[in-house]
Symmetry: C2
Subunit: 118 residues, 2 copies
Amino acid sequence: MESTFSIIAEPNRRAILSLLAAAEQSVGDIEEHLRMPQPSVSKHLRVLREAGFVESRVDAQRRLYRIKPEPLMEIDAWLEPFRRYWSERVDALERHLDRMNPPPRSSAPRRKPKGKKR
Amino acid sequence: MESTFSIIAEPNRRAILSLLAAAEQSVGDIEEHLRMPQPSVSKHLRVLREAGFVESRVDAQRRLYRIKPEPLMEIDAWLEPFRRYWSERVDALERHLDRMNPPPRSSAPRRKPKGKKR
DNA sequence: CAGGCATATGCCTCTCGGAGTATATAACCT
DNA sequence: AGGTTATATACTCCGAGAGGCATATGCCTG
């Protein structure tokens, strides 16, 4: 399966992506920058490629890898519903009030009481 | 260890977070909405809590869980260097040109040739 | 205080994926 | 062709973590 999220769960893969964010790199470049064994780099690149995070082009014996943004955009999109909390973090006041009395948000579904209490 | 990223790699945990994004929920609420066994819910909540994704408050016998945004903000921040690819995706033309001739970006470091060729 | 609901924890098992090593493939050069 | 460089793949080993189930803890109510 290997979902989009589990792929970037791996630290080395994130490092590779961050490297590629700056510029196109060959396998050897990555190996050198990240000081990791070449087979490991190739394996991670394979995973990233098959998941659409990167694409490669051939340059003689070497392969140059570059970012493909779509999966990362997907993650960015997943974060969307949480962004409203960003601003709430600006001052803790609203959170505090929110905790004290019934949240004044309009569309937040009210929980139906399951037990008897409260 | 359990890094921020590996925590949201778990689909059930993402589902829980998405639920909580809408509104504070009790363990029972989550169990019901996501149709998953209660111990599983509790265990995932524990992981999320210890990693700072959520916090709980006590309401009689039940615990109400709510989002804490910091770790998600961290992920959002990690995405930052890639955002420039978003816009490049708008029209494929720029990418294409980018691939054809030396990228006109100002600050992108040029790779030092390692082998002899190219 | 007894019994019941809500949640947490402990234990076991099983799978998945990463590390490491060796080796295969492929293109280049002389 | 033969050797060398660059990258990919195959195989084995091992540990982390998720699921399932039983059980513990805690609070509330009659």
